[in-house]
Symmetry: C2
Subunit: 251 residues, 2 copies
Amino acid sequence: MKQLWTIQEVAKAAGTTSRTLRHYDAIGLLPPASLGENGYRLYDAAALIRLQRILALRNLGLGLPDIARVLDDGLSAEDALAALEQQLLLETTRLERQIASIRRTRIALQKGRSPMTENMFDGFQHEQYKEEVEERWGADAYARSDAWWKSKSDAEKLAWQQKLSALNNDWQDAVARGVDVTGEEAQALAARHVDWLRDLPQAMVPDDFGGYILGLGEMYVNDPRFATNYSGEVGATFVRDALKVYVETNL
Amino acid sequence: MKQLWTIQEVAKAAGTTSRTLRHYDAIGLLPPASLGENGYRLYDAAALIRLQRILALRNLGLGLPDIARVLDDGLSAEDALAALEQQLLLETTRLERQIASIRRTRIALQKGRSPMTENMFDGFQHEQYKEEVEERWGADAYARSDAWWKSKSDAEKLAWQQKLSALNNDWQDAVARGVDVTGEEAQALAARHVDWLRDLPQAMVPDDFGGYILGLGEMYVNDPRFATNYSGEVGATFVRDALKVYVETNL
DNA sequence: CTTGACATTGACGCAACGTCAACCTGTAAC
DNA sequence: GTTACAGGTTGACGTTGCGTCAATGTCAAG
């Protein structure tokens, strides 16, 4: 009556592979009932039943350690599955945001406003904005800004832009993940952003540094050329609000 | 003017880690511009620019090999992103189906109709159905069936059920993945199902084996106790239809 | 006795680094 | 001069669940 099966027989009956069974043995999830003199693994009815349950849980996506806990440590399958479902839900929202991000980038690429190919060495699209800057802040402001920029070495320019680029990346990421503007992460980003702005020469930073930053924030939102740096107006709004909170609590 | 940076400086400026940069060097994705006498990696402006593009693409979820192809082999970023988006879309639908599957199982667990705990050794809920079988097919039919089942060794019973269990699993899987009833996979499953039925003794199988299978299929759909084996009526319908197609083309 | 099917135990591979470990270097401080 | 200490280097393991060789022993059949 006491029937034993070889590893292949078990694998075929259960619709899996012998490699998998040896793996389950190796990690202690499903040891065979006994070993023959020849060293062959031999499985009994209890092992087959256990295997069936293992495969059923695996089918649902549970990890092998979790399956072991359910089968051996009396962990409730219901709890394990509920936890897994939560994980998967998080995964789907993450994926959806990633897809949205890709779509935005693809659209930008098609429009030729590729963040991959442009503005690497143009310093904030510097000269491009000459007229506008002169109009809004006066010829003097542009001259100071221009002088400052040209005084930097290539290395400094590059480092400055590198930081800007990293910053933009991280802002977009934070926006996509929907973090809280007042939260730790967003505020850390705001701090980095402010630090980056401190690199500007004294002459360009007005006395009211806080007010200056708030003004910049507004500009990010209102000017689509800046807004694209932060995934559009939504992102720019996020950046502005995070900066605002930061300024109010730290400056 | 030719400025070089150490690995830490680059890492900080770009918002990544030195470990990552050494990894990118190791796989040939971003070799440093030069090596100092001390063996230190030294990066130049071109490397920083390349790094920026790498990080931007990575941010979107592209794999490092794909990034390398985009940067070096002139593969279009647009194409790479389109392909990635497709992958991710598939992923989300997969995840959604998995979540649905988990929900079904959890509901079943809560109702106490746990596939984990029941009917391992009861042989098709055999005796439980005695009256019903006698009523529908006659006392004779039940007696034959009962004799057949009792004549099997434990090993045979177990193997038979094991196959049934694996079959059910795979059916549910196919249903959840939305495969085509006439497709290769569903037909292979139907073939396995029919093979499994062939284990029944001759006495139980009528002359019209094809018709017998079609009748079974209908029963799977109409009787909720069978339907639960295949994820409810929808699944059972799928099984019935797949069997029907199989019978019509192979029997 | 040979052949083939099936068994065994390693060990690598996959994705993208994080995280030690063990050991130099460069620079500032005592 | 030496002592720290920060920062550089090259390995190598760990992560998830097996697939896939590789090298070799065992068993039933011809």
